[in-house]
């Protein structure tokens, strides 16, 4: 099975580690993937309003391209994943949006949500398997107490994202266990860090990020992992500064021995 890999804008610039290590690990794990051709911006935020169609079109183009390449779209950035997955859901279930989007784009073949949007973590869990990852680890991150930070974008609304239990997720904890470290569960791992308002209401973003990082620290976490560049920025910039935040691919690369 071949996956169409979708990096997104941020992974090409500010979040290069997320991308770089992500690719190296896929190669190491023997996952067949290729960067999707001529990818466009996902749209950055999912337009919730029912009367917004134009802002969803770039996501639809990517989804349709992925369909042509085999229908498995692999995402890494939580924000992109959220947008692509929800737009895909609209294309599948919202007759109005599907009709208008197809009318606008006039694709060779009508797109109706056929592509599977798969997050990198879902790939690790469902296609590779954490057991296999455990077996592939050469450098287990022993004695590291790591807190998983899920944030909002991967989990909610769970009806559409269908990623994990939205109130008590465990996929990243399982991942942490697989790479040999000790997961630390803490109450605010699925609470919003406030990244969206970090540019406009810094106070609020500081308050929310501090709440998350404090909660993690009090539970005994030495570091946090995330899949989201927005959370990464916000928790680092506006958190309590006592728990460093890493992309999960970086730790995976370290454990698999492909980090330079």
């Amino acid at each position: 099975m071949k996956f169409s890999y979708y990096p997104g804008c941020t992974l090409k610039t500010k979040a290069k580690q997320l991308d770089l290590y992500g690719r190296k690990c896929l190669e190491k794990l023997g996952v067949d993937f290729e960067e999707i051709k001529e990818w466009q911006c996902c749209g950055a935020v999912y337009p919730v309003s029912k009367d917004e169609v134009a802002t969803k079109l770039s996501a639809v183009r990517t989804l349709a391209n992925a369909k042509a390449e085999g229908g498995k779209l692999l995402t890494l950035c939580s924000a992109c994943h959220h947008v692509l997955k929800r737009v895909n859901d609209d294309m599948k279930n919202d007759d109005n949006i599907r009709l208008k989007a197809n009318n606008y784009l006039a694709l060779d073949e009508e797109y109706a949500g056929e592509t599977d949007v798969i997050h990198y973590l879902e790939l690790l869990r469902d296609y590779v398997g954490f057991d296999k990852i455990k077996a592939a680890v050469v450098n287990p991150l022993k004695n590291q107490k790591i807190g998983a930070y899920y944030g909002c974008l991967l989990l909610r609304p769970s009806e559409t994202l269908a990623f994990d239990n939205p109130e008590n997720p465990k996929i990243i904890e399982d991942f942490i266990t697989a790479i040999g470290a000790t997961p630390v569960t803490y109450a605010f791992r699925n609470e919003c860090c406030g990244a969206y308002v970090s540019t406009t209401s810094k106070d609020l973003a500081v308050k929310k990020s501090t709440k998350v990082t404090d909660s993690a620290k009090n539970a005994g976490a030495e570091k946090l992992v995330t899949a989201c560049p927005l959370c990464m920025y916000n928790l680092t910039e506006n958190g309590n500064g006592e728990v460093p935040v890493y992309y999960f691919t970086e730790l995976l690369a370290e454990a698999l021995g492909v980090k330079e």
Binding site: E191, P229, L230
Partner: protein, 128 residues
């Protein structure tokens, strides 16, 4: 456009049925930005249900809602308060002079570390 019409439009745009609300307040009990909101998530639903939009259009909550969908996730009746807030925000930013973020002021507010996606999101969320 009269307010009633406007409320109807916002209701449609939100794509959620506000009449299903049973006024339990779970959305506001869950909201992480509650303290920063002048009008609370459950009130957005209630005002829209009654067709009263005036207060909502001037609410500061439009810019403090984190779009974290916690309220949507846990509503026992399948109502989506965040969608209502977003629908009102669209109503405001789409109107003339409704932009919240001034492009000229950007250099003052951002730093080097901000990821691209966040900048784009900011404009998408708060501007036309």
């Amino acid at each position: 456009m009269d307010r009633k019409e406007q409320a109807k439009l916002i209701k449609e745009r939100s794509g959620t049925d506000v009449r299903k609300c049973m006024k339990c307040g779970k959305c506001s009990g869950r909201c992480p930005a509650y303290a920063e909101m002048d009008i609370k998530p459950h009130q957005f639903v209630s005002y829209i249900e009654k067709g009263e939009v005036e207060k909502l259009l001037e609410s500061k909550s439009l810019y403090t809602c984190l779009s974290c969908f916690a309220c949507v996730e846990r509503c026992p009746r399948g109502v989506a308060p965040a969608n209502v807030i977003e629908a009102v925000r669209q109503e405001v930013v789409r109107a003339q002079g409704g932009n919240k973020v001034q492009a000229e002021k950007i250099p003052e507010t951002i730093n080097e570390a901000i990821p691209q996606q966040l900048l784009v999101s900011m404009f998408r969320k708060f501007n036309k």
